[in-house]
């Protein structure tokens, strides 16, 4: 049985993602939870690199890690004392949540893993060129995405205005 380098990298990234996401929801210090979320998000970016979606990995790092997570850390500093622990969750609620998520995970895994997929003949090993991505974003033909692109731009504009309006001092 041969173990390739990409399999080892996959295992490391999986450990990062699984550990990071579980610790995010279990850790009682909210700043630590944000740090574990960082690990999970970086692991996801690693997955995208492993699958040859380098542009998406760059977006993941710059938007999620550089934008959203920094926003989270800022607002944690604004709203809580450093070192403050979140109160313990009640026992019955924890049990209920564990049962709900385990049942859901079991159901999803059962459906996903017993399904047989029409795998593509060969998985493309090349990355998608920036030119192809740009051309697909800037067109109205089939498989081109000008409309969602513009919709996202309107959404972001609305979101900027809403953020300023909601968070400004009265």
């Amino acid at each position: 049985m041969e173990i390739t380098a990409s399999q080892i990298i996959f295992c490391i990234l999986s450990a990062l993602i699984v550990g990071g996401s579980i610790m995010t929801v279990v850790s009682r210090n909210i700043l630590r939870a944000a740090t574990y979320l960082l690990l999970a998000l970086i692991g996801t970016a690693g997955y995208y690199v492993l699958l040859n979606y380098h542009f998406l990995a760059g977006i993941q790092i710059s938007v999620y890690v550089g934008g959203i997570l920094v926003l989270f850390v800022f607002s944690i500093f604004l709203t809580s004392q450093v070192g403050e622990k979140m109160p313990k969750v009640s026992w019955s609620k924890t049990v209920f949540a564990i049962i709900a998520s385990l049942l859901g995970a079991g159901l999803c895994l059962f459906v996903l893993l017993t399904q047989s997929y029409p795998y593509a003949e060969q998985v493309a090993q090349t990355e998608i060129s920036m030119q192809a991505i740009g051309l697909s974003l800037m067109g109205t033909e089939r498989f081109q995405y000008l409309l969602p692109f513009e919709a996202i731009s309107i959404l972001l504009l609305a979101c900027i205005i809403a953020g300023i309006l909601i968070a400004r001092k009265k």
Binding site: I17, T24, T44, F55, Y64, S75, A124, F143, A167
Partner: protein, 117 residues
């Protein structure tokens, strides 16, 4: 049962089904997010669980795109747009949370039980 036999079976299954390990990891990530969304009392921590859920869905889109339709880019573009929407949603959510904190000095869900008046 012999442990190496089990490992051999698992490796055999994964080599026939190369998408499965990615799907398992993203399922674990998704339901960790669900668990956090149920148990957390802090609004910011709930928003973080929501990020985990969105991220797991993005992984699924990309993996299905890469393994089943490698010549096309729908999954990647859906992930890109989902990341944009997630960024917008988080920014507005955090603005609302900071406003709630300013009016009540608490962001626990049990404390936030009145709207404007």
């Amino acid at each position: 049962m012999d442990i190496s036999l089990v490992i051999g079976l698992v490796v055999d299954y994964f080599s026939k089904n190369p998408m499965a390990p990615y799907l398992i990891v993203s399922t674990i990530m998704f339901f960790a997010g669900v668990y956090g969304f149920i148990t957390r009392h802090n609004l910011l921590a709930m928003l973080m669980s929501l990020e985990l859920i969105l991220n797991a869905v993005n992984i699924n889109f990309v993996v299905f795109n890469r393994f089943l339709y490698p010549g096309q880019m729908e999954g990647m573009f859906f992930s890109i747009f989902a990341i944009g929407v997630a960024a917008a949603e988080t920014a507005v959510g955090i603005a609302i949370i900071i406003n709630v904190f300013r009016s009540g000095k608490k962001i626990e869900t049990s404390e936030v039980n009145t709207m404007k008046y």
